[in-house]
């Protein structure tokens, strides 16, 4: 049990590191969001599960955190992506931009 | 009756009043009147909250000193409330909180609780000043007040770290028994002094006063310059006499601050050509004087100085702001001849002004003479000289103002003062004159307060 826990925790740590590195190395905002979100989400999941193996009685609470992160992280990322799209100059390496239909360049969006 | 009701009832009323917005100002008048009335039935002594004794729990202290303070502040508050309740309905609930905060300030015997009530009263004050419609000035007041109270809190925490208590009396005796020199407490006390200095309008921490008082209306002028000034004066006095140890470098700094406040305050008033500015700069000097007298240990006379000042500023700001509203501005030039057709108002204004200057037949004279006498007896020859010299300056600008208001031939300004206002200012003026002549009770009560020290009676 303890070994499993530590394995999970180490993997979690690795993904956290990966997330940090992604944030740092990716060349533009959207790619940074991508790298950060995915890595840290998985990192948090594994880390928390690892902790859960160590303390089984904490599982409900940890699960709640996981569920929360599973929802919150992508939502936050998408909101940030939209904000970044609307407020900043787009990176020059874009090969395609369908979003321009939706936001009309920089103008108003739907909903 | 437990004095805690003086805090609880206004709070309760404030919480309820937000559901009955239209009647908030009636509730306010009723509660503030009830507070004054109820003071007669309060039991003197130490009140513990929640059943936990000092120094562990928070205690409130109702002794002679706080009782006088409560009477003054509540009465002034009531007068301000009843004179303005119709015009400033919007701030009814906030005024109730202000009342609770002020009473809490005056009653509490706990240094941190004092901070809390300082903030309660302070925030209420910032809000009341927004009725001036000068948001930048109110903002400035808010920032400076917050910096001040933060410094107070920092000083307080340093003291807690050193002496492990928050109770005023316990703190004072811990410091006295600790065996450390005054150097240890100088820094925290300076921080706390500055914190209160901001609220008490001491230079150079008082730059908020101009924006607030020079643009004041009938509510904010009397409220800040009279009610709040009195309350802060009383609380500051309690700290100065019972908690603070002021020695060495700290004493030098404090003395510089105070001399600067008195001298610059009078000079600024002298240099002003607007009535409210004259009054507000005069307040700066007076506030510093109050601190000086407390520091000198003449508690009773400091109390009378506060009382005289608060009563005077109430009358002066009420009259000035009423006239300003009707005349459009408060230049002395505009006000010229104001009293020619408003003799009753003029007499009241004159009486309280002469009292502030300290001319005989008025309460201010009795106070000033006794303060000077006590200073000389205690061997202090410097402050009396400063006080007397600045008094000349003070006298000149006030007399100049009075004469301008009384003597003018044509084009007299047209101002109407309502009956209630006349009634109030005349009563205050008469009281100031009565106690200026019939001085025995003043003398006796002041002497009693001088002899009284609240530390010994921590648990009265």
């Amino acid at each position: 049990m303890e070994i499993a826990s530590y394995i999970f925790m180490t993997i979690g740590g690795l993904f956290y590191l990966l997330g940090g590195l992604g944030i740092l190395r990716m060349p533009d905002t959207f790619n940074r969001i991508q790298a950060g979100t995915k890595a840290t989400t998985l990192g948090a999941f594994t880390l928390l599960i690892g902790i859960g193996f160590n303390n089984p009685e904490w599982f409900p609470k940890l699960l709640l955190i996981i569920v929360f992160i599973a929802f919150a992280n992508p939502i936050g990322s998408s909101a940030l992506a939209k904000a970044s799209y609307k407020s900043c100059d787009l990176p020059d390496n874009l090969v395609q931009d369908d979003l321009i239909d939706l936001f009309g360049g920089k103008e108003d969006g739907p909903s | 009756m437990s004095a805690i009701l003086l805090i609880a009832v206004p709070l309760l009323a404030a919480f309820i009043s937000i559901l009955f917005k239209k009647y908030a100002h009636y509730i306010l008048v009723f509660v503030s009147f009830a507070s004054v009335f109820a003071l007669g039935y309060m039991d003197l002594g130490t009140i513990t909250v929640g059943g936990f004794n000092a120094p562990f729990g928070i205690v409130l202290i109702l002794d002679d000193y706080s009782l006088i303070a409560l009477y003054i502040v509540n009465t002034l508050f009531f007068l301000v409330a009843i004179l303005n309740c119709n015009e400033f309905k919007k701030v009814g609930s906030i005024m109730l909180v202000a009342l609770a905060g002020l009473n809490g300030l005056l009653l509490t015997g706990d240094l941190f609780n004092l901070f809390v009530f300082l903030e309660v009263a302070g925030i209420a004050a910032y809000l009341i000043t927004t009725t001036n419609k000068k948001p930048l000035a109110s903002f400035n007041y808010l920032i400076q007040g917050t910096v001040g109270s933060s410094l107070y809190l920092l000083g307080l925490i340093l003291l807690y770290a050193m002496f492990g208590t928050l109770n005023m009396a316990d703190m004072a005796s811990s410091i006295a028994n600790s065996g450390y020199g005054a150097g240890v407490t100088a820094f925290p006390f300076l921080l706390m002094f500055i914190g209160f200095g901001v609220e008490a309008k001491l230079l150079p921490f008082n730059s908020w006063t101009k924006g607030i008082l020079a643009n004041s209306n009938r509510l904010t002028g009397p409220m800040i310059a009279s009610v709040y000034a009195a309350a802060i004066g009383f609380v500051f006095g309690r700290l100065l006499t019972n908690v603070f140890v002021i020695e060495d470098t700290f004493l030098i700094i404090v003395t510089i601050i105070l001399i600067f406040s008195v001298v610059a305050g009078e000079a600024m008033a002298y240099a002003s050509t607007k009535v409210r500015e004259i009054l507000l700069y005069s307040s700066v000097a007076q506030a510093a004087l109050v601190v000086v007298v407390f520091m000198s240990g003449f508690t009773g006379w400091a109390v009378y100085l506060i009382i005289g000042n608060a009563a005077a500023k109430l009358v002066l700001f009420l009259i000035t702001n009423t006239a300003t509203k009707q005349l459009g501005n408060d230049d002395v030039e505009t006000f010229k001849g104001l009293f020619v057709n408003n003799k009753v108002i003029g007499l009241a204004f004159t009486a309280v002004t002469l009292s502030v200057i300290g001319l005989p037949m008025f309460l201010g004279f009795v106070t000033k003479m006794n303060i000077l006498e006590n200073m000389f007896v205690s061997g202090d020859y410097i402050w009396p000289a400063i006080i007397l010299i600045t008094s000349v300056v003070e006298g000149i600008y006030f007399i100049r103002l009075l004469l301008n208001l009384w003597y003018k031939e044509n084009d007299l300004p047209e101002v109407k003062f309502e009956f209630v206002l006349k009634y109030v200012v005349v009563i205050i003026a008469v009281l100031i004159m009565v106690f200026g002549v019939y001085t025995e009770p003043v003398q006796d009560s002041a002497d009693n307060l001088v002899a009284y020290s609240y530390i010994e009676g921590g648990n009265l």
């Binding site: 992604g22 959207f30 991508q34 995915k38 999941f45 709640l64 992506a81 369908d98 239909d101 | -």
Partner: protein
């Protein structure tokens, strides 16, 4: 039924936090009930009698798929991030794909799943169009992109949120 849904969400959250204990269950139930009455019509949680079944499908069909995709996506990210020359792995752009899913919650789940899987990030949804930022655009047409990005989730989610 939305009352039941709301109550369940609140109650489960509470118990997850407070742990299973008689006093907690009691208090949790009471509080959840009160809040359900107040909030139900604002939050729009919906549920129907097929919920247990759907839950099972969700847990045993969707979650494994999702976790697998998540792991894959992270490996993909790792590959990019750790490579010395990042730029050559990138061919970014915003693409629009279509979804057949109905219901806000279904679309949300899809969007989140897309976000957490390799190389894609949902930016917004307008009607049936999902706008996605893609690290490396492979497809030429929207349909191709749809196949690459969301098709596998849609199948499962279509069952869950029917």
């Amino acid at each position: 039924m939305k009352y039941v849904a709301t109550f369940l969400v609140l109650f489960v959250s509470y118990i997850a936090l407070a742990g299973i204990h008689v006093q907690e269950l009691l208090l949790g139930a009471i509080v959840s009930a009160i809040l359900t009455v107040i909030l139900a019509k604002h939050v729009n949680y919906t549920i129907d009698y097929r919920f247990p079944v759907k839950l099972l499908v969700f847990i045993f069909a969707y979650l494994p798929l999702f976790v697998w995709q998540l792991v894959l996506s992270n490996l993909a990210v790792a590959r990019i991030v750790l490579s010395p020359r990042i730029k050559k792995h990138l061919n970014p752009g915003f693409v629009k794909i279509n979804t057949d899913l109905k219901g806000d919650f279904a679309k949300l789940t899809l969007a989140n799943s897309i976000t957490l899987t390799p190389g894609t990030l949902s930016v917004d949804i307008d009607g049936n169009d999902i706008y996605i930022h893609t690290v490396y655009i492979k497809g030429k047409t929207p349909e191709e992109n749809r196949q690459n990005i969301s098709a596998k989730f849609e199948k499962v989610l279509g069952v869950v949120f029917k």
